[in-house]
Amino acid sequence: MSFDLQRILDSKRAFRQKLAARPVAEKLRLLDELRAAALAIRGASVPSPDNAGMVQEDAAKYGDDDSK
């Protein structure tokens, strides 16, 4: 066990790379599980503007009007 911050960051980066390199099918199954866990934590069925008290970002605007 070490509290060397650089080693911790390197270890995290290596773990993320390992996750990214997994087969896509496995990563999609992980998304299923991550969503199920997120919903269990939030206690909501689907994202909704009615979820009062929840901090949410605006929906994505896929246009180029604001890119200039």
């Binding site: 996750l19 896509v24 605007k61 246009g63």
Partner: protein, 174 residues
């Protein structure tokens, strides 16, 4: 809930002629190139018919899916437990992304997804906090071809925005 089943349903809808070319974008699309990150919905970009007098409508999509047990919840339609949003390409960049999307065979299910370069450029253009985080993931992972990305950024007037992003997040200088 099952993402693969949701995409298979969309494939059947395409085969049945309800939609034309589609592609997966957003966080689910990014998962093809990066580590998985929690997301609550699926963004599916669809080329809607644009002939004169034709009104863009999700009606045929919703009718098809509701007849197969899917439910509408707000702006989403829930397929195999996943809220899916069908989106028209809202900019030339997204139109190009849809045209250049690549087919992937995932356990015998065909999935069409935006390229990594287009996903990164769209994240740059949309620009919310989570889009910036996704773009950083692409950069840190070296998950895209930089020359292709730069060409897209240049073609779609995003050079200044990219320089600003580099200054804020990629340079060591304060």
């Amino acid at each position: 809930m099952n993402l693969k089943e949701a995409i298979a349903t969309i494939n059947r809808m395409q085969a049945d002629g309800v939609i034309g070319r589609y592609a997966i974008g957003g966080a689910v699309g990014a998962t093809f190139y990066l580590e998985p990150v929690t997301t609550l919905d699926v963004d599916i970009f669809v080329g809607f018919r644009s002939d004169p007098g034709h009104v863009l409508s999700l009606g045929p999509i919703y009718d098809y899916l509701k007849a197969r047990g899917c439910t509408v919840e707000g702006e989403y339609i829930v397929i195999a437990g996943w809220p899916v949003q069908f989106l028209p390409p809202g900019s030339p960049l997204v139109e190009e992304a849809l045209a250049d999307a690549v087919d992937r065979d995932i356990d015998a299910t065909l999935m069409r997804v935006f390229t990594a370069e287009h996903l990164a450029a769209i994240a740059l253009q949309v620009g919310r906090a989570k889009d910036k985080a996704r773009l950083l993931q692409f950069v840190e992972a070296g998950a895209f071809d930089d020359a292709r990305f730069q060409a897209i950024v240049s073609r779609h007037g995003l050079v200044d925005r990219w320089r600003q992003f580099e200054r804020l997040f990629l340079n060591d200088e304060p």
